[in-house]
């Protein structure tokens, strides 16, 4: 290192990525260092920093988080408050396990989550319906550790269910999504959890910005990329996919969404979708289960491994773990994520054919060539011959672009 820069660190579950930012958008090559077994991520990174202190002016850290903090959403309206809250949680790196209505209690108990978001109502409106719904809510059927109120700003309503945290309403007075407050809160909760769970506390003290979850950092890069070119050959509108060990994250330019998709906040330019069953390590059992019954399995194997498609087809039908050896697992996640995004009758409503670029990042792609990735992208889009750039973030630079945009301070509201 010849002069001082900002050391950027991404703590993953199997690899630590490190590079130096010299000035805005100028980085050294990214080094990938294997995680040391038996050493906490925090200790390993601290040791790394100690060896480089002479050339380091500041440090920024992000961390993948094993799929994100589990979140449940309970609200008054599926199309408005629940949809807006779920989207805010996803944007913050949360993993939404369920979305339910206060007025239609499900017969089955909900799965346990770390964060339960309650939402509903419009600020300044009559809240008798909301109060009635909350009075009937059975929170014991929704096990959680932290309760967040993200609905109408009315003390008498929140008083019915004293939450651990309150944030601004996810709907504005015109019923438009207004996710900012909830997104910040979930991200901070997520970060605190990360810091504690991975032993990153010491790092948090020396870092010049809060430790954010990597998906949220990549989301910042996607926001920036929607406004100007960061990677060569990538033009907006794009779909950015980050395949990881536990999840696959998709960042989609909002102009690619079809008409019937859930309404977005007016200032959103990129929306994040997270697929919690698509990952190459922690989610491998779920992935195998999905693949064995996937109606598009034949298209998938032809794209992933044309030279041995029938053998792979049978292996996946039988749920053989060995079938997902790298890079097959990664390519399968990529295919399924794109198919779900593009499904005409699906919830994501992405018009893939109008995407000028598809960008792939993430360490899970080990060994997959650009040709393979391009073939999978085309197959997932129905074998189309649409002229579209497929770009692979070979140098893992997207997270570096994103982490430099993390605001220096983002306190957790109480």
């Amino acid at each position: 290192m010849t002069s001082a820069g900002t050391l950027l660190v991404d703590v993953g579950s199997t690899v630590v990525k490190v590079c130096t930012r010299w000035r805005a958008d100028r980085f050294s090559a990214v080094r990938r260092i294997a995680r040391l077994p038996g050493v906490s991520p925090g200790d390993q990174v601290s040791e790394l920093l100690a060896g480089r202190s002479s050339g380091v002016r500041a440090v920024r850290v992000c961390s993948s988080a094993n799929g994100g903090v589990p979140v449940g959403v309970l609200g008054l309206s599926g199309r408005h408050s629940v949809a807006a809250a779920a989207r805010a949680a996803v944007a913050a790196g949360g993993s939404v396990r369920y979305e339910r209505l206060l007025t239609s209690p499900s017969g089955a108990p909900a799965p346990p989550v770390d964060v339960l978001i309650l939402t509903g109502g419009v600020d300044g409106a009559d809240h008798h319906r909301l109060r009635a719904a909350l009075a009937g809510a059975r929170l014991t059927d929704h096990p959680h550790e932290i309760l967040v109120w993200a609905g109408a700003d009315a003390p008498e309503v929140a008083a019915l269910l004293p939450p651990h945290h309150r944030t601004t309403n996810v709907l504005d007075r015109h019923l438009r999504p207004s996710p900012g407050g909830l997104t910040d809160l979930i991200r901070d909760l997520y970060t605190s959890d990360l810091v504690g769970r991975k032993g990153l506390g010491a790092l948090a003290d020396v870092a010049e910005a809060p430790i954010w979850p990597t998906p949220a950092v990549v989301g910042l890069a996607a926001q920036r990329m929607s406004r100007r070119r960061l990677l060569s050959g990538v033009a907006a509108p794009f779909v950015l996919l980050d395949v990881g060990g536990a999840t696959t994250d998709a960042f989609v330019c909002t102009e690619l969404r079809r008409g019937r998709a859930v309404r977005l906040a007016p200032d959103s330019s990129v929306v994040r979708q997270v697929f919690t069953d698509l990952g190459v390590v922690a989610s491998r059992p779920a992935l195998l289960g999905r693949l064995a019954t996937d109606p598009d399995l034949f298209d998938l194997v032809r794209a992933v491994a044309p030279e041995r498609s029938r053998a792979l087809y049978h292996d996946l039908c039988e749920g053989r773990v060995s079938a997902l050896a790298p890079p097959v697992g990664f390519l399968c996640c990529l295919f399924l994520a794109l198919r779900r995004l593009a499904a005409p009758d699906g919830p994501h409503g992405t018009d893939l054919r109008r995407a000028a670029s598809v960008v792939v990042t993430g360490g899970a792609r080990s060994g997959a060539s650009t040709t393979q990735i391009r073939r999978v992208v085309d197959a997932a889009d129905g074998g189309s011959e649409v002229s579209r750039a497929v770009t692979v973030d070979h140098d893992y630079l997207l997270w570096a672009y994103g982490i430099q945009d993390v605001p220096a301070r983002s306190p957790v509201p109480s």
Binding site: P295, D296, F298, D299, A303, E307, C317, A379, G383
Partner: protein, 467 residues
């Protein structure tokens, strides 16, 4: 349109080796079928028979009995009676890949002196023993079964010298299975098609045939034709060069003629479009596949009329029923008698000219238009392969077979029988027909009977319309 050549089967040899190894056979290997087929006289090949000039449709009975001796006796009796194709109909356990049970029941039936299987357990008997069934027989043998996964069955059949394989991923799954995944069946039939393309001699390719009658219960012509065309294209894609499309007697003479015309026309059009103009396509007519009269004299009338119709629609082959159809598996004598009777009727119509009438033209026009609509929909699916497109169309109800027991079949297409006993579409479900076509179907259906009957009552009655 999907690619003319599917490159994605490079690993078929590995899969073949696995299938054969799993069967436990120590005699069968990757080259057994090919070696034996190349040594067979060309008269044993269905594809060669289809190329030959003839004055009448070929006659093919059905027939499968559990024991080798019984099957040998049936084969010789049918051969003597003048059958142009000899059948080998497979038992239900083998059809469902339960070879162990088939073998056990074969043995038990032999010990107890009566049949415990409803067909010939080909895998249990093995290819070598089955070859001996056909000593002295100089006509093609046709495999009839109903198997979603026919990979091993086809391996053994081809090694035994059987040169015509009936079936397909749709026609042998939707009417015959309840839960076997359609995409798996299509993938397994891709294996069978490619296998057939690989092992036959260049001058006498293995012949494939689809099964058009499907559930044989008020299946509208458009569904029959679309299923046949899909299976034809899937087979051609894998290199099959001789194929027969088929359908069952509809109950309406005009629709029978129109279906034959549309099948031939659309098969030629789509094969040319897909880059397979060299595939030879035959037409097979199944005698009435619905409930048969129990009274022998009526059954004979139906067989005779069906035989005449097969000639009038210009079929290349007719698949024959027996007067014991209503009772159960026919005796050997009854089966042979049916072959002789059909031959007798067909010989009355040498060089019959194609028929036409206003009603036939009307049916031809409507069915042809409907088939074009649905096939366009199939071929324009946003997917990279025909196989995946066909699968999608089944799941979405674009291909919908009335009364099929399969869970993945939409079952939303509703039909009824209109004037002239023609099958009409009452409600299309998700089958993508145009408004004009549906309006025409309604017009041709006419007013419903004013006897106060409900649709389900009429459908039930229709099951026994000729019985």
């Amino acid at each position: 349109m999907f690619g003319a050549d599917d490159r994605c089967l490079g690993d078929l040899d590995d899969e073949r080796a696995q299938v054969i190894r799993a069967s436990g056979s120590t005699e069968l290997d990757l080259s057994t079928a090919r070696r034996y087929l190349h040594s067979l006289p060309r008269g044993r090949f269905a594809s060669v028979a289809y190329r030959r000039q003839r004055e009448r449709p070929y006659i093919q009975p059905r027939g499968g009995l559990p024991g080798w001796e019984q099957q040998r006796a049936l084969t010789l009796a049918l051969h003597r009676a003048g059958a142009d194709f000899i059948p080998l109909t497979i038992d239900s356990h083998t059809r469902h890949n339960d070879y162990a049970t088939a073998a056990k029941l074969l043995e038990a039936g032999h010990a107890e002196g009566h049949d415990l299987l409803n067909g010939y357990p080909l895998v249990s008997h093995g290819f070598a023993r089955t070859r001996e069934l056909y000593e002295g027989v100089d006509v093609p043998v046709s495999l009839r079964h109903g198997t979603p996964d026919a990979r091993l069955l086809a391996e053994v059949a081809l090694a035994a010298g059987i040169t015509e394989i009936e079936g397909g991923g749709l026609c042998y799954t939707l009417p015959y299975a309840k839960s076997y995944p359609v995409d798996r069946a299509l993938v397994h039939w891709q294996y069978v098609d490619r296998l057939c393309a690989l092992v036959g001699p260049a001058d006498a390719p293995i012949h494939r045939e689809s099964f058009g009658p499907l559930t044989a219960t008020l299946v509208p012509p458009v569904t029959t034709v679309v299923v046949q065309l899909c299976e034809l294209l899937l087979a051609a894609e894998q290199g099959v060069r001789s194929f027969a499309v088929s359908y069952g007697q509809t109950g309406s003479f005009e629709q029978d003629v129109a279906v034959a015309r549309v099948l031939r026309r659309q098969a030629a059009r789509l094969l040319a479009h897909a880059g397979h103009p060299d595939v030879r396509v035959g037409l097979v007519y199944h005698q009435w596949m619905g409930a048969f009269p129990t009274e022998p004299s009526l059954a004979w009338q139906l067989i005779a009329v069906s035989a005449a119709l097969s000639r009038l629609v210009g079929a290349d082959k007719v698949v024959v029923k027996t007067p014991e159809e209503a009772i159960g598996i026919p005796r050997i004598e009854s089966n042979a008698a049916a072959v002789r009777a059909v031959r007798y009727v067909l010989d009355m119509f040498p060089d019959a000219a194609p028929l036409s009438s206003e009603a036939i033209e009307e049916e031809d026009d409507l069915i042809d238009g409907e088939v074009r609509e649905v096939m366009d929909h199939v071929l324009n699916q946003p997917t990279g392969s025909l196989l995946a497109a066909v699968h999608r169309c089944v799941v979405s109800g674009v291909i919908d077979v009335p009364f099929a027991p399969h869970q993945q079949n939409a079952g939303r297409l509703v039909t009824d029988r209109g004037p002239g006993r023609r099958i009409r579409i009452l409600s299309p479900g998700a089958v993508p027909l145009t408004t004009a076509q549906l309006r025409r179907e309604r017009e041709l259906l006419g007013a419903r009977p004013d006897d106060g009957s409900l649709l389900w009552e009429r459908l039930l009655r229709d099951v026994r319309i000729l019985a």
